[in-house]
């Protein structure tokens, strides 16, 4: 199969345009704040008779139906977010009727992020402004790219997952983090296609006549498809932190 060199110019042009668009897209600087619910599960996850007998209390409050929620808020954009960008304080809201029993900052990136918070607080951390009516309000803080705050809350009467709200200059919406599975999907599809192509490429006569030298390249191609397919299947899910519930 001869390669027609006349196709080289449009091919190179198309590749160049694609790379330029990708680089332009990657080079775009924007502000973004996202949150990631690392953990949202009942504190007491026991069923049966033991559930009736077991009772855990926190400051006198029964934690039978309490939830432990761990929310990470991080600067997912390419620009730093200054404290003056916060038009309103950040809030972590649960459903109406929920009661936040405890709120604490369990992790920050960098570790000394709390030192940037100028506000004074009566709570355990300077980040926490107030906690009331199923709503924890956080003080504004300067956040560089990839800086994060991880808040742990013990909540009663929870009906839904928490939502992070607030208004920031240059940030349209505080979006929840979602893991992108585009690359694994592409890898899986390409791997399957390559495997099928390799299987179809083998000449039956070569198998009958044991012409391994002719079968081998297709075997290698099949292996390549296998590698891509399995890489797509077992591509690791992105984890933003080492929190263990």
């Amino acid at each position: 199969m001869e390669f027609d060199f006349r196709l080289l110019a449009p091919l190179v042009t198309a590749v160049g345009i694609t790379v330029s668009i990708i680089l332009w897209r990657l080079n775009q600087k924007y502000k973004a704040l996202s949150y990631n619910i690392l953990w949202h599960a009942p504190v007491l996850n026991v069923k049966g008779l033991a559930r009736q007998e077991l009772d855990i209390r926190y400051a006198g409050e029964s934690l039978t139906d309490a939830y432990l929620s761990v929310v990470e808020i991080y600067n997912s954009g390419h620009l730093a977010i200054s404290a003056s960008d916060f038009q309103t304080n950040l809030s972590i809201e649960f459903n109406p009727g929920a009661v936040i029993l405890s709120t604490s900052i369990i992790e920050t990136v960098p570790g000394d992020l709390e030192e940037r918070c100028k506000s004074k607080s009566e709570y355990s951390s300077a980040f926490i402004n107030s906690v009331k009516d199923g709503r924890a309000i956080l003080n504004p803080v300067f956040m560089n790219e990839r800086d994060s705050i991880t808040v742990q809350m013990l909540v009663k009467n929870v009906k839904a997952k928490p939502i992070v709200g607030g208004h920031l200059l240059g940030v349209k919406e505080i979006t929840p983090w979602r893991s992108s599975r585009l690359l694994p999907t592409i890898l899986t599809q390409v791997g399957a296609f390559v495997m099928a192509f390799a299987m179809l490429g083998v000449q039956p006569n070569d198998l009958i006549t044991f012409a391994f030298e002719n079968v081998l390249p297709w075997s290698l191609l099949f292996l390549l498809g296998c590698v891509l397919f399995n890489a797509g299947l077992f591509w690791p899910k992105r984890r933003r932190t080492g929190f263990v519930g």
């Binding site: 992790e107 570790g111 081998l216 390249p217 290698l220 590698v227 080492g242």
Partner: protein, 514 residues
Amino acid sequence: MRVSKKLTLIAAGTISIIIVVGATSLLSVANLIKANEQVSQSKEIVSELNLLLADLTDTVASQRAYIISGKEPYFDSYRRSIPATLECVDTIRTLVADSPTQSGRAEKLSALVKDRLASLDVTLQLYKTKGPQAAFDRIKNGNSLSFKLMLQSAIDEMKQHELALLEKRDHDMRRSASTSQMTIVAGCLLALAFVTIFNYLFGHSFLSCIRQLIRAADNIKHGRFDLSIDTNTEDEFAELATAFNTVGQQLQLATGTIEENKKNSAVEFHTIQVEKESAQDAHDEILTKFALILGQVHATKARLSLLLEELETGSGRIEESTAELHNRCRDINTVSQSMTKDLLELRTASDAPDQFVSVVDGLLNKLDTLRLAADIEHSRASESNSTIQVFTQRLREVGLDAQRDKQELLKASARARLMTNDLVECYGDAVNVIEDHEKISQNILSELARLKDIIKQLNKLDLSSVLEEHSALSEQTTEHFKIGKSVATTSSVGAVVQVVDDSQVVPKDFSKPA
């Protein structure tokens, strides 16, 4: 899977792929070379066949030209072309030796060529022996055409066979080349994909673990020891994370212990401060009481001194008074004795009128004398008479007073004795009181000395050592923080574990006295 196994797997996979690709490429290249050689051989055979045909044609042409022209150069050319033709035939036979079909054809061709050359030789001999006409006749009536056709047919047959073979070999060669190319490309792609994907995955895994450890170390550095790391792997990083978690827990425990010790030491310090303040208060109170007691003692001493002085003065005065009283009593006694005597004398005189008369006489005499004197002193007598009467009266009164004074003096003497006895008793009591006071003072002084010793001991009680221990504990806390920091910066958790193991915090027992 452990990191070493992962790395071994990547290396083994990469090496396997490289070996397979290399071996396949080597085989393909060998096949390609073989196919190329065969193609070259076929091409050479075809070329030799063409050359043979040309040589034969040239040989026949030279022979005919010589016969026609009779010129020697044509003959020489003919002579030269014969070995070349035979050599060409031998070459063809050699080249087709591996193919039995072609070998048979080559033998046949060789025989035909030799027959043809022999025929040409015969014609040439005929030319030389019988002349050109005979040669022309032979050429004209000979079988040169059939020779030509047979040779052409044999060469064409071989050529066709070789060309077919060449086409097949060329096809095989191209296929082999294509297979080799595909093998190399697929092998390279496989190796590239394998190495890239596995390196990315393992690198991502390693980096993720290292980033988690760095984040955890950074947070531990800032006092969040309860951060737990789960690398979600079963390799050395998981062990490192476990060790890190253990370090964090131990640091938390150590910090808790230090905090507890700090609180305890603060409480102890506060208690000591309170005790010190209470001791100081007690000391001040004791000092105040002591000062009061001392003042009272001094006042008592002063009062006692005054009392003693007063007693001494009083006793002196009493002694003087007593002596005076004695003297007065003596005088009174004397006076009373004299008056008693006078009274006795008077009584005697009254009892004895004679005596009284004589006395009266005597008195009269005396009175006469006195009268004489009174005459002399009449003027004064009249004046002194009243004086005498007054004096007498006075003497009587004095006598009565003396009696009363005597009685009073006796009473006063008795009272004075009683008072003296009381004073002596008081003096003894005062001495006892003073001795008691001295004893109390000595006790107070000894208590004071003991209190001073206690205060000195309290002052000697080295609170600075407690503060130093407290600061040492604080330094240990700072050291632990520094250990966390060093963990973050060096990531040598093993060293940190060793450091933490080495820096076991032993809580100080502040309940023991310094």
